[in-house]
Symmetry: C2
Subunit: 375 residues, 2 copies
Amino acid sequence: MTEKIARFFAEQTPSTPCLVVDLDVVADNYGKLATAMPDSRIFYAVKANPAPEILRLLVESGSCFDTASVPEIQYCLEAGATPDRISFGNTIKKAGDIRIAHELGIDLFAFDSIEELEKIAEHAPGSRVFCRILTSGEGADWPLSRKFGCEPEMARDLLIQAAGMNVRPYGVSFHVGSQQRDLKQWDIALATAGTIFRACEEQGVILSMVNMGGGFPTRYLKDVPTSQAYGEAINDSLRRHFGNRLPETIIEPGRGMVGNAGIIQSEVVLISRKSANDDKRWVYLDIGKFGGLAETMDEAIQYPIQTDRDGPAEAVILAGPTCDSADVLYEKAEYRLPTSLKIGDKVTIMATGAYTTTYSAVNFNGFSPLKAYYI
Amino acid sequence: MTEKIARFFAEQTPSTPCLVVDLDVVADNYGKLATAMPDSRIFYAVKANPAPEILRLLVESGSCFDTASVPEIQYCLEAGATPDRISFGNTIKKAGDIRIAHELGIDLFAFDSIEELEKIAEHAPGSRVFCRILTSGEGADWPLSRKFGCEPEMARDLLIQAAGMNVRPYGVSFHVGSQQRDLKQWDIALATAGTIFRACEEQGVILSMVNMGGGFPTRYLKDVPTSQAYGEAINDSLRRHFGNRLPETIIEPGRGMVGNAGIIQSEVVLISRKSANDDKRWVYLDIGKFGGLAETMDEAIQYPIQTDRDGPAEAVILAGPTCDSADVLYEKAEYRLPTSLKIGDKVTIMATGAYTTTYSAVNFNGFSPLKAYYI
């Protein structure tokens, strides 16, 4: 926990559950990523945390923005970003939303199918388009389905086809999976991108850009490679697969930009056992799967959890406060908490700056969405 | 689809996605449940859908209310329910919330541990308390973890202990699991409840009430037993396990009260394939897991989906509109939709009156929470 956040909790004693984000950590993450990858433009994945305080800070830092919807585009514009710094990165867009984005000045669009490409050509004529390719997602903590991207052969064909339409085939994108700790996965994807660049060039279509997506991890329970290690590995791969004709590159960090900047404070509502000889305590918090911790789904993201108590720790099952059986946070992950933990104690859930506030349910079981403070 | 809902869509053409609930269907469900189980009091599980229109209708119909939080208690009071018609059925409550509920006049509380019982005795002295027991959840579509309830032996001990505290041991509750189609599960739980009643009586503690919880299913893709079949089976079980000293009984329908009353209208945003020879189309809707269809988690609840198109149908994968890989609705469930389906077409998602509006994320990917109309 940063000193600033500790002071905030001590002085303000906000009611729980709440998220507190230290903006200095976000600024520091941006600086480290920019230094590690000086040749790439950073497009912050707004969906990770669209708080205006974060967006304004990143606008001033020089960041660009990857958006998923028209409202997200508007948040960025309101925070002071010019349209040339915003991409519409969702491959699934309503025709009307493409038109609005185009009217707002957005000129960079993602696609992964002929159907989407046709929509963009019709409603955002003249725009630059990039095609997302499928990757395996191996090594990522948050599951990557086949929902986004198409097979590389199809990407090649679509980009060549795009050259004959009212758009500008601009490049290729991929996403190696969120919280990706295996550096090799970027190399595999960059090799595929290189192949598509050469195949397109043979047909007279010159691509300019590789969008390497997100996936940059934040530190939860396990150690993760540093920004610098990512930068070096990706640089090596780029040289290997593109030689001395390096493309323009983009990265889209979300979790890696804001994850470790936030801390959720929660209160222990109940500690109990299911029978007299139950060997595991159930610890119920005032935040759960529907209050902001949706990424505990299948126990995928395992947040470090701390308390002020010390002494011996014991295995616990952690659950949220709602009347929903599925609102269990960690049952298999073998969390341990001090046996001295008491009802009413505060616990801090670390590295919760990304994918928490906006995931929270609007009113499930009558509970309010997660409150957040940006300091 | 009811005529009233069809007319609403035709005349109002609301923007999608949206939920429309026909209040006549709710009234009809209430009537059928009340007729099928004339000796049980109905406590509507407010968390299924806390819309004021539904609560007001049920207040007038004579329903009682099962609540999960102080805000839900307040919704019921605002809808005109008197406090004696409201139970605080969450076994996980903050001490401060118990006190507020008590001040609001609530007198019926759930617990499943000595720790919760002590909180109730301190902050809601004199209240009636019932202890929830664990059940297996076998046969239920929506997973039932061990989150709620305790082993029957512990329940017996706690109820006997409660008699010496500042509360009134009132009964036993159980929940057979949401969307429970196996009538035998109620019999198993009622047998356990009967055993606890007799064991308590031996110690001089007379219990009055069995809370049989929810679990009454709504019709999705598979047929479900009628309200009447439930009523008869439960009545038989009660006589078998309690003889001629029938306890007061409570049921807590949520899904069974409002599930089939609502219909979500959504728009097809994209239909595409991942490669030239892909044998399955991906159909992307403007609503997904984070926009209200959270219960598609692990494809647990399978809503019937209809379109106006006809002709031959083909297997599809259904997904939501967000940039989240986990936002896939049905991949294994083998949904089939007409090959003539087009981008921009409307689809209707049936039986979505329960557990949709409040589950929707507050702002994920910039998308607004699910809009709803009660007619």
